[in-house]
Amino acid sequence: MSDNKHKAEHSHEEHLREKHLMLDPLPRGRMNEMVMESMMEPPTWKFWAIIVVLAGIVAYGLVYTWAKVIAEGLYLAGINRPSYWGVFIVNTVFWIGISHAGTFISAILRVFKAEFRRPFTRAAELMTTFGLIQAGMSIFMHIGRVWLGLYWLMPYPNQRMMWPNLHSPLAWDVLAITTYVLGSTMYLFLPLIPDLAMARDRTTGWRKILYKTLALGFRGTEGEWAHLRNAMNIFAFAIIPVMFSVHTIVSWDFAAATRPGWSSTIFGPYFVVGALHSGMGAVIIVLAIIRSTMKHMKYFIRPEHFDAIGKLMLIISMAWAYFFFNDYIVQWYGGDKWTQILLHYHEAGPYGWMWFAMLIVNVAVPWAVLWNQKWRSNPLIVSIVGFLINIGMWFERFIIVPVTLTINRAPFTWQQYEPGAEMPMGIGTMAFFILLYMLSSKLIPLIPVWEVEEGQMAHEFKKFGRETVVSVSELE
């Protein structure tokens, strides 16, 4: 009898161990080996084939098409009057949205000590940095005189002592996005230093030179750890308001304008939640791909992680639906003539199908699927949901930018928008993002091994009466 009980308890422990990475410790040396192997595994021909295809798309979409647009003018794109902003801005908002997931996972979950974050903070943070590169490029694609854009927007005077106009939401954007790009890149780099040192100790040849240079001479002395810990703490807290400010300010580009459908006070939080919605969807896709294609990643990234992110996705989907409804109903009750026409155009105009598709994939699909723990623990199912959410969120931005711009207070100018060169350029940013990610997965240890080890040190089984439970100590 008691033997059976003992067995049952043992299998319960086994079950927990299988489920949770933090309870399934491996020696540090073994984990290092696994991460190094997954990174240095010689790429297959498929990998190179994908790289070549992506590079081709980048060369056509980003290099050739953009060069043509710069040389000949923006007529190649589909923007017109009144839709002065189109898919370029949609893509900017989209990529900034994607980048929010990285900060959410590596800062908010770190601050709140959510242990499941440990193995994929870097994968998410890498998405932030690469996503912001695409967002930055998308902004400059849309500028009429891009050759002047960058240095005339930075806050220093030009040769005639003119500073940028700090009344403009676009100038706030420049400050906010610069802060966010630099902040998140530094925040990606700081926790990477110990892993670079680990990689330095285990490589030879050009990789040794690379990691030696990047690891900056980190040994892991008490002082180095203390400075690093302090800095990461400051970053984790400070980058959260920066993240919120970035997407809020992006939303103010719209909300601060005198346009029906744009001038909405709820746009700030609505955009932040929308950003997290698409970002979580993107993180889950990235994790599913990493898990299924890279060696040893099934040990680090487990169904529990998809389960945890799936829960977040469900909550964020509800929050998004709440903000959408709030935004919609207040504008609708407002009864402004132009807003009425605009809302009708949203649903019944030529892009009405997008409006309905957006609601289905952003709300109905996640709610129908993610309530079920089995489904949301399945990488394939959640990544399909994540993919759909990303399409839905792109539609949402498309409706907010060019579709809303179509309807204004000067009906004589109403003109439907049809994207042109924006599409190859947008697909180019997508290809560039994937390309950067694939190449960096061969150069950067994607799993923060020291963070995983720290977490495994903190977890242990504890008995409360007859039940074995998991107990986590606070090491920091």
Binding site: W163, E222, L228, A238, I249
Partner: protein
């Protein structure tokens, strides 16, 4: 006892417990905390090892950066509008308008604070540092290394003592290229 020679030893331990015990015993042997350093692959806190808290300037540098950033923001928001020979009017907004100033102050404070936090790590840890250093690669495999750099101690005696304390290996530390 030879006065001139500085004993320089690197002892590797498998776990936090033995390393902490060893540190206690070394201290009992009369080796000052300042002569010892611990190298580890995970952030082992000073409290776990019973070591004095590390001094770090990072928060101070961050605070300095925040103040600098706030001043830079204040300059942009409140100083720049007065630098023009004539007032530049846009949409009949005041040259200094409240809400945009808040945004500028916030973003610049955060930007320079984050930059100086990052810089603080470099300054405090003396990064980048590519000179030869005393190190063993086992550290990144989770071992804990104690680095002792102390005059007035007999090398042999110390080595034996460390071995007795459970050190996996005790070797004279040599600076090498990492």
């Amino acid at each position: 006892m030879t006065e001139s020679k500085v004993v320089d030893i690197l002892a590797v331990f498998a776990d936090i417990g033995p390393a902490a015990d060893a540190l206690d015993q070394l201290r009992a042997m009369g080796i000052h905390d300042e002569c010892m350093n611990v190298i580890s692959g995970v952030p082992v806190t000073e409290a776990m090892l019973g070591r004095p808290a590390q001094h770090t300037n990072v928060p101070r540098i961050a605070l300095g950066g925040a103040l600098l950033g706030f001043s830079a923001g204040a300059f942009l928001a409140f100083g720049v509008p007065y630098m023009y020979p004539y007032p530049i009017q846009v949409g009949r907004q005041a040259p200094i308008s409240g809400p945009p100033s808040v945004i500028i102050l916030f973003e610049l404070t955060m930007l320079i604070m984050l930059l100086s936090t990052f810089l603080g790590v470099f300054l405090d840890s003396m990064f980048p540092n590519y000179r030869p250093m005393k190190y063993v690669t086992e550290v990144s495999d989770g071992k804990i290394a104690i680095l002792i750099e102390c005059p007035h101690v007999e090398e042999k005696k110390l080595t034996d003592a460390l071995k007795k304390m459970g050190a996996e290996s005790v070797e004279p530390a040599e600076a090498q290229h990492l």
